[in-house]
């Protein structure tokens, strides 16, 4: 943590991370109370990645997201109410309820869409970057994906072209150690950083639990891309505190309680930032409590909005098939 930050900015980071935390906790509750249809893949534990990266982006920059996408969408500027509405399949949701948890998309915040195909957005992000270059715009695209996506061929095809044409795209790999229920070591040969190296692509590895470290690393590769110096690979080491999805409760067969506990207690990105600030006496703990309370209240209101919102009318079903 090298840069100088003012307290406001640091608190803003905290706030952004807590927004994701609170949203996801409520999502879990909605699942458990059988209010949310289907499943959701919670981002809890990984908040510093989405926030660190998106804070380094401009509003008119683009992102693509994944099945574990709520964090990216919120960090890029989505609002609670329309997110929850989408998760409940309601009409005011970002996609009129037609996309759901895995497909939040929002042109206003530059969100090209979450993608339920592992690795499926690598080409899209790369194409958006090509498009920026062709139009002479200086917008940057961030492609978020989990380390599991590095086993899908499309990611390699895309990285090759991005590097070849020096496109303004960042491949942000969130290594949370697991492909669903399988430790990445069982599925991944060599090193993660070997992948971008294959194409001669700039690559940076960062502690994904340290929002300031992510912010700084992201800032560098984004500025590089914005200046036309080409793509980068940003490897963020992180951990999901909960299951692969909300229904993944018994996890003992693929990871230990100790491991989970370690990350939750020692490596929680929110605690890490708060403690760092408290250690330096930049603020006091009441401030965090106040932020949290405000956000929780906002979450509550948003959930109520979503619960009360109408389902899409039947006529919606065959609208938007063609543009």
């Amino acid at each position: 943590m090298s840069k100088e930050y003012d307290v406001e900015q640091l608190l803003h980071f905290y706030q952004q991370m807590f927004r994701i935390r609170a949203f996801e906790e409520k999502t879990n509750e909605l699942y458990q109370r059988a209010i949310m249809p289907g499943l959701a893949h919670l981002y809890i534990g990984e908040e510093a990645v989405a926030v660190g990266v998106c804070e380094a982006l401009r509003k008119d920059d683009y992102i693509t997201s994944t099945h574990r996408g709520h964090g990216h969408c919120l960090a890029k500027g989505a609002s609670f109410d329309r997110m929850f509405a989408e998760l409940l399949g309601k009409h005011p949701g970002y996609c009129h309820g037609k996309g759901g948890s895995m497909h939040i998309a929002d042109p206003d915040s530059g969100n090209l869409g979450a993608n339920a195909i592992v690795g499926g957005s690598a080409g899209i992000a790369t194409g958006a970057a090509l498009s920026m270059k062709m139009q002479g715009l200086d917008r940057v695209v961030v492609c978020f994906f989990g380390e599991g996506a590095l086993n899908e061929g499309l990611v390699y095809e895309s990285m090759n072209m991005a590097q070849l044409w020096k496109l303004p795209v960042i491949y942000c790999c969130e290594n949370n150690l697991y492909n669903e229920y399988t430790p990445y070591q069982e599925t991944t040969a060599g090193t993660f950083l070997g992948r971008p190296a294959a194409f001669g692509m700039n690559a940076v590895e960062v502690d994904g639990q340290d929002v300031l470290a992510v912010y700084e690393a992201a800032g560098q590769v984004i500025e590089r891309a914005r200046k036309g110096e080409g793509p980068s690979f940003l490897l963020c080491n992180t951990y999901r505190f909960y299951g692969h999805h909300v229904g993944d409760i018994d996890r003992s067969y693929y990871r230990s309680k100790e491991e989970e506990l370690y990350w939750m207690t020692e490596r929680d990105p929110l605690k890490l930032l708060a403690n760092w600030m408290l250690d330096r006496k930049l603020t006091d703990s009441n401030v965090f409590t106040q932020i949290e309370n405000e956000i929780r209240a906002e979450v509550e209101a948003a959930v109520q909005f979503a619960i009360n919102a109408p389902y899409p009318p039947k006529e919606e079903v065959d609208q938007h098939v063609y543009a």
Binding site: G38, I117, G120, E180, Y253, Y311
Partner: protein, 332 residues
């Protein structure tokens, strides 16, 4: 077909599990490869227990690489093994189409019969799980279109087990589509060894007034409709092709000749889907016996929406079948 003995009620998922376990026991060449299939037993938990019995060498947890594992299946099948490749969701076969269609399906033919590819690809179809457009498709029509591939779509635990065992023993690539909403469905399955030959349809209910052809879970929609229709005196015959490629056209045509009316129900999209093939075969083969046009019901021609309020509108229901059948039988 061997003779079954004692019969129990087990789920569709258990039937699949048993079929694989039995075949792995009898033939050391059979193995599985797929994402999260070992300790996790797949995301649907259908394969639970297999890794304990057969070990991680024969129940191989793979990287997330659908094209890669399908290609690996092809190469292993050509050289002495009998792989079962697990593609978690039917939507992901989009990533493996080259390996399935340009490789697996064609190698036997292109080599003049020299090489063969005794491989099974196990995947899913079916919506209404609130999984949205990329996890809800029923893309089996694509594979039925490709010579060299066989395609099965079982509707009951009994059929699931018997057909899958035949598929594993078959020397050609076979793709099996299981409706992910049926894994918990219970039904009678004999204790002992049995197989069901590929390419033979099954009449799931005998009737004389109208033929309802249903595939996979749509068999149950048809049966449900038949029950309602019976109450108003329409006796529907429910025919389940079970194998979609090769298709038992004779049974389909004969049923329609007998009843003079037919509705075909499948969960793939209506346009250019499975219903088109079956309907046109019946319309041709039973032309001089038909009292009404052959009708079709498929998934609505829209990407599957997430919202339950919309998703449920997209798949065929018993009520729709009943309505259509009544019209065809002149009851409205």
């Amino acid at each position: 077909m061997s003779t079954p003995n004692a019969v129990r009620e087990i789920t569709f998922g258990q039937a699949v599990n048993e079929a694989i376990a039995e075949e792995m026991r009898r033939d050391p060449r059979v193995f599985m490869i797929g994402e999260d299939i070992a300790e996790a037993g797949t995301t649907f938990k259908v394969l639970k227990g297999l890794v304990e019995e057969f070990g991680k060498e024969r129940i191989i947890d793979s990287p997330i690489a659908e094209a890669g594992i399908t290609g690996i299946g092809v190469g292993a099948a050509m050289t002495g093994m009998r792989p079962i490749v697990d593609i978690m969701f039917g939507d992901f076969i989009t990533l493996a189409m080259d390996q399935l269609v340009n490789q697996a399906a064609k190698i036997h033919y292109m080599s003049g019969g020299k090489w063969s590819v005794p491989m099974v690809v196990r995947t899913t179809l079916g919506a209404t799980r609130r999984s949205a457009a990329q996890h809800s498709q029923s893309l089996h029509a694509w594979l039925c279109h490709i010579p060299g591939l066989k395609v099965i779509a079982p509707s009951t635990p009994y059929d699931a087990k018997g057909l899958l065992k035949s598929a594993i023993r078959d020397n050609s690539p076979v793709v099996t589509f299981e409706d992910k909403m049926m894994f918990q469905l219970k039904g009678p399955v004999p204790e002992g060894e049995y197989t069901i030959p590929l390419g033979v349809a099954d009449i799931k209910r005998v009737g004389k007034d109208i033929t309802l052809v249903g595939t996979s879970s749509m068999v149950h929609v048809a049966l449900e409709a038949a029950k309602i229709l019976a109450e108003i005196g329409i006796e529907a015959e429910v025919v389940d092709p079970r194998t979609l490629k090769p298709l038992d056209t004779e049974t389909l045509i004969n049923s329609a000749k007998k009843t003079s009316r037919a509705i075909v129900i499948d969960e793939g999209h209506l346009s250019y889907g499975v219903t088109a093939e079956i309907a046109s075969i019946i319309a041709d083969g039973a032309f001089y016996y038909l009292d009404a046009p052959v009708k079709r019901l498929g998934a609505m021609d829209v990407p599957i929406p997430f919202s339950p309020a919309l998703e449920d509108l997209t798949v065929p229901t018993p009520a729709q079948v009943v309505e259509m059948a009544k019209t065809l039988c002149g009851r409205v």
